[in-house]
Amino acid sequence: MTTDYIEPIFTATNKVLNNILQLKEIKQGPTAVTEELIATKKVNISIGITGDLEGAIIFSFPEEMALKIVREMSGMEIKEIDKFVTSAVGELGNIICGNALTTLSQNDYCCDITPPQVIIGIDNKISLASEEISIMPLETNFGEFDVNIGLCNC
């Protein structure tokens, strides 16, 4: 199975977070592959993908990182995860995927995205249509988070 769509997703994540948060650098850890996604971080943003690639991209942020992101963007004191926070972070996921799809369309993958879904909580099993999920751990000065890619080009 080819996974040539993973790199454009990383590039888009890197670019959007840099623009919005002025992150110094995003370190990409080794990608792991799993068949079942169990949430290890509290704030999970799932963006559905349809078209030549089918499945979802899930951004998993620790609570503190999600709060920090929204604090940085809004310049406000943000103490807990609420609708405002999940919606702001959800839009971040939406923008990243939109950017990634633009690149992917140049590589002949024609896809659409569906609006972000927010899944809060650790240890939840997140069901994905694809058989394999690539977990890409990323390290930033805002914290560590994962981009989980469950896509199928079948």
Partner: protein, 134 residues
Amino acid sequence: MLWKEKYKIGIEKVDQQHKEIFNRLNNFLNVVRNDEEMKSKLEEIEKTLDFMGQYVVVHFDSEEKVQQEYNYPHYEEHKEVHDRFKEEIINFKQEFEADKYNEDLVMEFSGRLLTWLINHVADEDQKIADYIQK
């Protein structure tokens, strides 16, 4: 929500408009997120929505005009993004009018607006600046 110097695109009028939008939205967020009851926020929310509805149209027009003046190659795509955003504000206004005491609805909209606007100004509008400078 803070304006940053790096958001400037180098066209005075557009930069001023961006600043104004950031300031207004900042006030809006402060109202939306204070601990008071929804009832006391309604007036300010309506005021900001009216302002955004009108001012954003004026601003997008100015920005689109600049793009045309400079023959910006991504004018059409950019205009499409603006049009979609204008539509979203109109849709939200309708939703809000129909369900004024629904705080979740306002929170959801504000969060999306925050991220959208920063990304638009920090990324998509910067591409205009990059092009003009070349």
